[in-house]
């Protein structure tokens, strides 16, 4: 069972994003983590290999040299080794990223399964699973919160709204974009973290994989903070009923209700 997990190095969602210039952000002192949705994919991959009793999980990342540190935490969660395709482009377009992931995986081995997350929390593009699948000509299912793999067939479930769920069927190998609900990613223990330090991370340049220029420029023309609201107008009724009446009146007057 040879399983690849595409994992992105992204700013921690709890971190403040300091905008730099027109369309860039400052990474000095910014905490980076494994994209949280990719962790669900990784956990599923590790469980699959554990269950099969043979094979390995390989982490593949396209990102800057510092991404190697982030990859160590993915290795501590049970992956055997990593491949880092180096790119300093913070907004590398998703077509180029998918081609780089494909080339790196293909150079390394023959995938029985590929996992990733449903979206990355930095650029919120929500398309890498589809593009990687297209590059391999594999089936793909995204936003998956339940999965079963048996006899060359994958059955995957996704929520489609209001709590309704769609069950998709496809052959393996396939690409699965994971989301919350699929599993509970493990917290690595100290010995796992120590072991991860010694695991191999192979590095490539984009050009080593035959990718000379990005397919298009993924950078935004402008990046702006979302303005925070300045604070609530507190309803000042003497009683609960008076406050509620004031609220309803305010909402009606401003045509919200």
């Amino acid at each position: 069972m040879q399983v690849y997990v595409c994992a992105k190095h992204v700013p921690d969602t709890a971190a403040n994003i300091k905008i730099k210039g027109e369309n860039d952000y400052d990474t000095t002192g910014l905490k980076f983590v494994v994209n949280p949705y990719d962790e669900y994919g990784l956990e599923e991959a590790v469980r699959l290999v554990e269950k099969a009793g043979k094979g390995e999980v390989v982490i593949v990342t396209v990102g800057p040299a510092q991404a190697a540190n982030t990859m160590r935490s993915a290795l501590a969660m049970g992956a055997a080794r990593g491949i880092l395709v180096k790119s300093d482009d913070k907004f590398l377009d998703s077509r180029t990223a998918a081609r780089a992931l494909k080339a790196a995986i293909e150079k390394d081995g023959s995938p029985d399964m590929i996992f990733t997350g449903k979206t990355s929390v930095d650029t919120e593009g929500s398309q890498t699973p589809y593009r990687v699948a297209r590059e391999f000509d594999f089936p793909v299912a995204n936003e998956i919160s339940a999965l079963e793999i048996q006899d060359g067939k994958a059955t995957a479930e996704r929520e489609i709204g209001g709590g309704a769920r769609e069950v998709l069927e496809m052959s393996t190998p396939c690409v699965i974009g994971a989301t919350k609900g699929l599993n509970e990613p493990r917290y690595p223990k100290f010995p796992d973290i120590m072991k991860a330090k010694k695991k191999e991370i192979k590095e490539f340049e984009l050009a080593d994989l035959g990718i000379d220029a990005p397919a298009s420029d993924g950078a935004p023309v402008k990046l702006e903070p979302v303005p925070e609201r300045s604070g609530a107008k507190i309803m000042q009724g003497g009683s609960v009923r008076e406050s509620v009446e004031e609220l309803v009146k305010t909402l009606k007057d401003s045509k919200v209700l």
Binding site: E143, G163, S216, V240, V248
Partner: protein, 320 residues
């Protein structure tokens, strides 16, 4: 005039209301001709509803002898064929669960950029605005590719009526062979709940709700408001609500006209999923709760006292 194709979502035989904002985004300042594609319903039946929002052609999209709704692959392939057939300059859909899936596939098939979950679009400047970093920043991104492919966040664009004359047509794309993925089953929701991301009003209960049954109090209020009911992660993790109700960074991203948060502290991860709501109201018993610093209106009080009164006052004002 440039042409914009739009994939319409239907429900119980009718056009879902969230399509109208999408159509407004598709049309721009009346600068595009809008062609709607329908897969689930009868195009003729949807025609009048869509024509009221500027659609000049309603196309029944089919895949030969196959069932287009049996696989998201087939639907995406048929749309890709329609791009060529109708010489579309843009193709757009809703950033809902089905829309995200079909457009993800479409972007890959066409091998052009996909701009997901936009909140506004400017055809003149060839840019769109979307969230980056879990709602903390807004990015203005270029619209590139031929066609331009994008999805629009439900409720982000206000629908504007623009009645035109519409015709119907059928397009049968010859793509039925071997979809890689098939829909085996659709499991209906346990309760018949309104989908959060599509709701015009949302009322959310946080951890202090204390028990699954206590959401009934919010259900009653939601019924009067025409609202969907949401939950915070702390409440979902405590087992008070299913994950399908969770709003936030690891739950759903919503943009309703009105968001009422009851017993929610106002964590960044919760705000990541609801900060683009037009009006945010907080009901919280702690006057220093962080949520009061980042919402529009607040009531300081116990939600178990305030919400039933809110339901009553709303009911009374409706009866008037």
């Amino acid at each position: 005039m440039p042409k914009t194709g739009v994939l319409i979502e239907t429900e119980n035989g009718g056009v879902k209301a969230i399509n109208y904002g999408l159509l407004t985004a598709a049309m721009g300042n009346k600068e595009n001709e809008v062609i709607a594609f329908i897969t689930q319903n009868d195009a003729a039946e949807a025609k009048d509803d869509l024509a009221a929002y500027g659609v000049s052609k309603v196309v029944q999209l089919k895949v030969g002898s196959g069932d287009i709704n049996s696989s998201p692959d087939l639907c995406a392939r048929a749309l890709a064929a329609a791009v060529e057939e109708f010489e579309l300059d843009h193709i757009a859909g809703l950033a809902t669960a089905p829309g995200r899936d079909i457009f993800g596939r479409l972007g890959a098939i066409l091998d052009v950029p996909l701009v997901s979950d936009i909140q506004s679009i400017d055809y003149g400047a060839e840019t769109a605005v979307k969230s980056h970093f879990s709602g903390k920043t807004m990015a203005t991104v270029k619209l590139e590719g031929s066609p331009v492919v994008f999805t629009v966040r439900p409720n982000a664009v206000d629908p504007v009526e623009n009645p035109v004359d519409a015709e119907t047509a059928e397009f049968n794309a010859d793509v039925a062979d071997g979809p890689k993925v098939t829909v085996k089953e659709v499991k209906a929701s346990q309760q018949d709940k309104m989908e959060l991301t599509e709701a015009p009003v949302i009322i959310t209960g946080g951890r202090p709700i204390g028990a699954p049954d206590n959401y009934k109090m919010l259900d009653e209020c939601a019924e009067v408001l025409g609202a969907a009911v949401g939950a915070s992660r702390a409440s979902v993790d405590a087992g008070f609500a299913p994950h399908s109700m969770q709003v936030g960074q690891t739950g759903k991203t919503v943009s309703p006209n009105l968001y009422i948060a009851c017993g929610v502290s106002g964590a960044v991860q919760h705000f990541a999923g609801m900060k683009t709501s037009k009006v945010i109201v907080a009901i919280n018993n702690d006057k220093d709760a962080p949520i009061f610093e980042k919402c529009d209106y607040g009531i300081i009080g116990d939600m178990f006292e305030v919400v039933p009164v809110l339901t009553e006052v709303l009911k009374a004002s409706e009866e008037k």
